[in-house]
Symmetry: D2
Subunit: 310 residues, 4 copies
């Protein structure tokens, strides 16, 4: 039997790999490391893999804008699920190393930046060494070829490499988190769970004041909340913008479907990037007048009016 | 064969009768004068007549708020058509009378008010006599029992009574006009003509700032224009208001149907008072993205997305 | 000493006279009856009187649209106060008359319409006679020249004429009320009381969808509520509309002043018709972020930012 | 004389350094490399440097969210200017190297990602080596200690290091660009130029539907356009969002000042991050009714109304 193939930002040991592990049973999939987000998504489009897992928000590994922009253009892709991981490192070293003996610590520069205050407090004298990736730093330690004594590594990587975890939960901002999504080629949308997100890209009709407001009114008129909105400069039309948004709800819900109909009618480009279970699991807040039943009742009422039933 | 019965604000000779004559072939209907708008509408509700013709906007005969409020409450009624008549009188008198010999001129006080400047200019010395109705004044002239020499009468009445028309098109404001509607019991809505109006009454969810704005956004999100809006104090809840609106378009058009669905979902009371041909005959302006085809295309698009067709 | 002169819709005995009496001490003013609303307002403009009291909403005496339209155009006038009176009649007759003996009852046709159900219940057999005005009917009774036995009269008129009041509080709808305003030539605006209204007329920039919404957003952005809105066909440009609105609040309050600035900037015509104490006396609801103090603080903050104080 | 000190993301040779060079005459400033964006901004707050230049949008060097989040919290900082640089590399090597002889090419992984297609086409057989930074790769080449033959470097760096530029304008997407800002401690705002931006962070009052819409209406009601909007998860309140926006215009313009007053009144937190000349130099579009003169006229009008001048 062929296992489903998942591309992810490699090498082994990245946060993206951790996200993939959080999403699937690794024994049931084939993991395919990719050199960057573009390659990962391209391999889905090409059919070389079935899915990709990529960071989409607030990452320490870069690539978020690449993810947004690559999803927004080209052959259709859809988001099938998401996971949110805290940005938290483990301080790892070869067995026998103590924190007090660390003279140099390595990580990708983004990782060092996320842990600067922690390092200043806990290993104050240590030199900080920028590595090409967090995984590379840990790997060199494991292989015994490192020019430093310890590394900051994504959770779990040290243990897999036979390193000792000297500290866990290392992060300057304990609330910092990264959001990853599972992306595939278009297929029937996953079932609504009652706690879903729908991701869209919208090009506004033109640059006039009020076009953004009108776009948001299409959501508001159906009581649909947004959990994310980002303007993105359009590479094809310098000076113009597209909007990447996450709406709370599922395309199978009439609230969301009607908002989509409204957006489609009134904007030159609307790209549907999927409806999928929200990582939070919190049920979508449904304001009065926007439930499936209320939509159905209102439609029945209008149908009745047309034939004289009031 | 039984002729359809039409109630109207009588007696014979009112502007409302002129509106009725403008709407139907009087040989094909039975005309039933009513003492006021409430009576006319009550007789439709009771089934005593089939239809009523009543003033709904800007009348010189009063009753507009009575029309709005009576339509808004009680057993359902619907508007089936409208006609707009200029507010313009004829100066009528017994044959042989000349303008120069008029010592007193009569009309309902509203009629006198509409023609004050004209009278001051053309029959400057004449005493103005308030009558119980314009038709009553003309009737007394015709019967030879009047204590005045001339009357202001709705167009056509003088001729029907055998009076002479000394001046036509009498009005201080040549643009003044009254709008009348034909009202019946609910039935299948008249076919859309492409130049239609839909009349509604809406109670807002509560008195909060923004509720009116949210109501109008339900129209705006579907590109539906309003041609009339009036707040009306609610007799059942003093201090609160309902809104009487005319929207351009027909309930069979998806723009209007969707706006109705949205209003119904988000407001405690929505009364549908009919979709009917606009008197102006001007085609409803359809902004880009709100045509029937664009709605259909957008719905097809959403349907496709659900099964993976992008 | 010269008393201030007040025009009102006469003759003596109208609801408008009752409104005037509710507003002023009649011993301190000179009351000048006018034949209609246009005449009353014209005499203010001409300086023949100091003030006029006219119905502006929901009247049984007609003239509301005349009031709105006459205020909206021509030499500036402002509203200086308002009063709301219940629409309620007294059944009056010559002394000695009993309800059971009434064979015919008279009133203006609007008055009869307001009391139809009451009459049907309490004087079921009586013939209803339309008079040229309620006051005229009562006057004929008092003079002993009436062809009917009783009349519906505004409260207080019967007593002044020496008639007997057979029933008070006569009205089909006990919540029905009429709103009257005191109008004068522009002067310094009356002081804010905390429970005020501001009346405006606005012409929208053009007939596009969204212009009405944009107008209301000028109010909403400052948290200003409307208590009345009415579209009025413009006599100078057929097919176009102006909007007559009452906003809660006073021009001396920054919320209202800023909304006025916004309206003035973005609409071709804005007519200010006055800020004046609301008849209800209910304090204007002030949503968070729209109090005078919050405006002042926000302005101070912006001023500080400009010079680097954060 | 002391030169102004500028922190930037070092080491020498980064795109951020190129941005700094594009903003100032390097002979007139002291350039202080920082290890990351947080350090650069922290050194401004601490007074160790006068200014920092940091990427704020669409960077290939990471740190954008760090920039947004660090500016939004902590001691006040303001943006004083911006520059937009194309994302474009030079292929550099030791003198004598030819494109055909390149066996391995190095760059930071983000740089490799931006040039993947170009490399596949022009140096198809070359191994791609991830370096800790673009500058580090070029530096190793210059020092003769590199384990690769060529590097992708920001424009100008190769020449400064004595390397040969084998190709310029290397980029897969010719429209890709990064936006950098100059940040300092609060001071008097730079003069308005007529082509300015104002950057803000806003926390909405709560998570209700419509709060985002209401925030945008504060801009729309004054005709202020946004050129960027991004929701940012709030680290202090998980599950809630703040909004980072760039508005077109300057705080000294009444349009923008009034929008700020409105935002301040109606949202719990508004952080002003500066008004500064827009890199584009395009004059701010000013919709009718929102010019400084129209604001002044409308204010004068309101002032006049208060004292009876209409």
């Amino acid at each position: 039997m062929t296992l489903p193939r998942y591309a992810y930002l490699g090498p082994s040991g990245t946060f993206t790999e951790a996200a993939l592990r959080a999403m699937v049973d690794v024994d049931e999939v084939e993991m395919v490391p990719a050199i960057d987000v573009l390659s990962a998504l391209a391999s889905v489009r090409a059919g070389d893999v079935d899915f990709a897992v990529v960071a989409i928000e607030n990452t320490v590994e870069g690539g978020v804008t690449a993810t947004l922009d690559t999803l927004a253009t080209g052959a259709p892709l859809v988001i099938l699920g998401e996971v949110v991981l805290p940005v938290s490192f483990e301080l790892v070293a070869r067995p026998g190393t103590t924190v007090g003996s660390i003279g140099a610590v390595a990580a990708h520069s983004h990782g060092l930046a996320q842990c600067r205050r922690w390092l200043a407090e806990h290993v104050p004298g240590a030199v900080q060494v920028a590595a090409t990736s967090n995984a590379a730093a840990a790997g060199e330690l494991a292989e015994g070829v490192a020019g430093f004594d310890a590394a900051l590594a994504p959770p779990g990587l040290g243990a897999r490499l036979g390193l000792e975890v000297l500290a866990a939960g290392v992060a300057d901002n304990p609330h910092s988190a990264t959001r990853f999504v599972k992306v595939g080629r278009p297929t029937a949308v996953p079932h609504a769970t009652g706690a879903d997100k729908t991701t869209l890209v919208v090009h506004l009709p033109d640059d006039r004041a009020g076009a953004l407001l009108a776009m948001l009114e299409q959501f508001a008129a159906r009581g649909v909340n947004l959990s994310r909105i980002e303007s993105r400069p359009r590479s094809d039309r310098p000076g113009e913008y597209s909007f990447s948004v996450d709406a709370l709800g599922h395309i199978d819900e009439p609230r969301v479907a009607e908002a989509l109909v409204g957006l489609k009618r009134t904007n030159p480009v609307v790209v549907f990037l999927g409806s999928y279970p929200a990582a939070s699991g919190y049920p979508t807040p449904v304001t009065p007048g926007t439930s499936e039943e209320e939509f159905a009742e209102a439609r029945t009422w209008v149908q009745g009016l047309r034939s004289g039933r009031h």
